[in-house]
């Protein structure tokens, strides 16, 4: 069970208030019409899914309803940091 710090509310809240929304930092192709099927398919469906450090998007669904990013270890489940949309993570996999 996670105890998650919401960077918008500036408070620790229980996991039940949050919803995991998958991998973070997926950039939408600038010109979707120009994408090949392969490029578009990879943007839509292919994911990093690492065992270890992972950057992911969460939403404080039953709270402020705002999205934010989290860096988490998918093996130990340890939350390394949370940071707002648009910011860069300070903890990255080597």
């Amino acid at each position: 069970m996670f105890h998650i710090y919401c960077p918008h509310c500036a408070e620790y809240r229980e996991e039940e208030e949050f919803h995991a929304a998958g991998q973070a930092h997926i950039a939408r192709p600038l010109d979707p019409e120009a994408c090949s099927d392969k490029e578009w398919g990879e943007y839509m469906f292919f994911r990093k899914n690492p065992r270890g450090i992972h950057h992911e998007l969460w939403v404080h669904a039953a709270g402020c309803r705002k999205f934010f990013n989290m860096t988490r270890d998918t093996q130990s489940y340890e939350i390394k940091e949370v940071y707002k949309i648009g910011e860069k993570p300070s903890v990255v996999a080597e």
Binding site: M1, F2, E15, E16, H19, A20, G22, Q23, D37, K38, G41, E42, M44, F45, F46, R47, K48, N49, P50, R51, H54, E56, R72, T74, Q75, S76, Y77
Partner: protein, 417 residues
């Protein structure tokens, strides 16, 4: 291989059961194999078995980082059914169902396959429309299925609350009488014993640490205990860890690995002689031969490799079961655990060639791989033997996520996805 029989049991009783042959060898691997299978779970062992039995390829190694059948094979809720909507998946799961029906005889190992029927409940009008559509699709594909009304459900499961007086009244169900449960460990052990009897080497406690790829072709694997092992073809059947292996091979898969939890109660007297699943209140339950209720529900929403999930997910699971069966409200739960399931965006598996030549993946089964164990092993073995995908596996290419030919089974995949 020593065959199991009633006579054998009698014979061994004379020597106090001290001379039973070991179920499989524990060999030191050779330097080179025709086929190396990474992952010694149900699917991997089934693949090895059918490779040897149906294709005569016995120079095969199964490399398992833990012990045989210790991953999701040991952690699932043992439900077997084949009532999937689309032709592609219906054919694949029905292929598995037909193999299940003769599996104990074929393996000379009792997998305790019990066709006690599977109910998929509907609680909304849309649920019922989907159920009717799916049952009709099943029947057109030669798969047994019926739509039941609450009265008929009540006759099958008298202890379930089928009244109108609930938060989500049961409006009906699909019923697949040929569905049921099987003893999950026995499936892995039976396939392991069968494969071993053909000379397949089962290499346990050995982790594949890297793949040896030269000019876009795989030529072997690196292991932590036995160094490099050469291979003509490599089949990767590692469920939750598929993305990790794919990364070693230099590509990504459209998978996310999630924890999926399950739990069992204390053993109680026989009360439930079928399998009940509900997409809407979100849970499924059956009773094992030992008497414990085997309960499961959905995945945890985040990705994780830790083989454990969060408490709120268990709480929701148990809420759903108590909603359906108020009589279970005071049953104590004995054990709870988690496995890592590799979910695919369209809730269908990937049985596929990869960008690396001679490297094949069988993954993406998500929450429903157990039911397909013999069928998936069978078609994956055929693909590894010939180098061309078996016709039943063809639609499940990983490249369907490039060309858009997805097979959307979110309805029939049911509760967990």
């Amino acid at each position: 291989m020593q065959r199991y029989s009633g006579f054998g049991l009698l014979k061994h009783s004379l020597t106090h059961h001290e001379n039973w042959q070991r179920t499989w060898r524990n060999p030191t691997p050779k330097k080179e194999y025709d086929v190396v299978i990474i992952g010694g779970g149900g699917h991997g062992l089934a693949t090895a078995y059918y490779l040897a039995k149906e294709h005569g390829i016995t120079n095969v190694a199964v490399i398992e980082k833990g012990y045989l059948g210790g991953g999701n094979t040991a952690r699932n809720t043992t439900i077997v059914r084949s009532n999937y909507l689309w032709d592609e998946s219906a054919h694949l799961y029905e292929h598995a169902m037909k193999l299940w029906e003769g599996l104990s005889q074929d393996l000379n190992y009792n997998v305790m396959f019990s066709q006690r029927g599977v109910l998929n409940l509907g609680h909304t009008l849309q649920d019922m429309r989907d159920i009717e559509r799916r049952v009709n699709a099943n029947r057109l594909n030669g798969i047994d299925g019926e739509v039941l009304d609450p009265q008929q459900i009540k006759e099958i499961v008298p202890h379930m609350d089928c009244s109108d007086n609930t938060r989500y009244p049961i409006l009906g169900a699909s019923w697949q009488p040929r569905g049921g449960v099987a003893r999950h460990d026995a499936v892995a052990w039976g396939f392991a014993r069968g494969a071993d009897s053909f000379g397949v080497d089962l290499i346990q406690e050995t982790e594949v640490t890297d793949l040896i790829i030269e000019d876009g072709t795989i030529t072997g694997v690196k292991t932590n205990r036995y160094g490099d092992i050469k291979a003509g073809r490599v089949g990767c059947v590692v469920a939750g860890n598929s993305s990790v292996l794919a990364k070693m091979a230099g590509f990504e898969l459209p998978l996310e690995s999630h924890p999926l939890q399950a739990l069992v109660s204390e053993p109680i007297k026989p009360i439930l002689d079928t399998v009940v699943m509900s997409n809407h209140v979100h849970g499924y339950v059956s009773q094992s031969d030992k008497g414990d209720l085997v309960i499961g529900a959905g995945i945890d929403g985040y990705t994780g490799y830790g083989q454990r999930g969060s408490y709120p997910t268990i709480e929701h699971t148990v809420q759903a079961i108590v909603e359906l069966f108020p009589i279970f409200s005071r049953v104590r739960m004995n054990r709870q655990w988690g496995g890592i399931v590799d979910t695919c965006p369209d809730a269908c598996p990937i049985i596929s060639k990869t960008p690396v030549k001679n490297l094949f993946f069988n993954c993406g089964w998500g929450t429903g791989g157990f039911k397909a164990t013999p069928g998936a092993g069978n078609v994956f073995a055929a693909s590894l033997a010939t180098g061309e995908m078996h016709p039943l596996a063809e639609p499940f290419s990983m490249f369907r996520f490039h060309d858009g030919a997805l097979i959307d089974e979110h309805g029939a995949a049911g509760v967990a996805h």
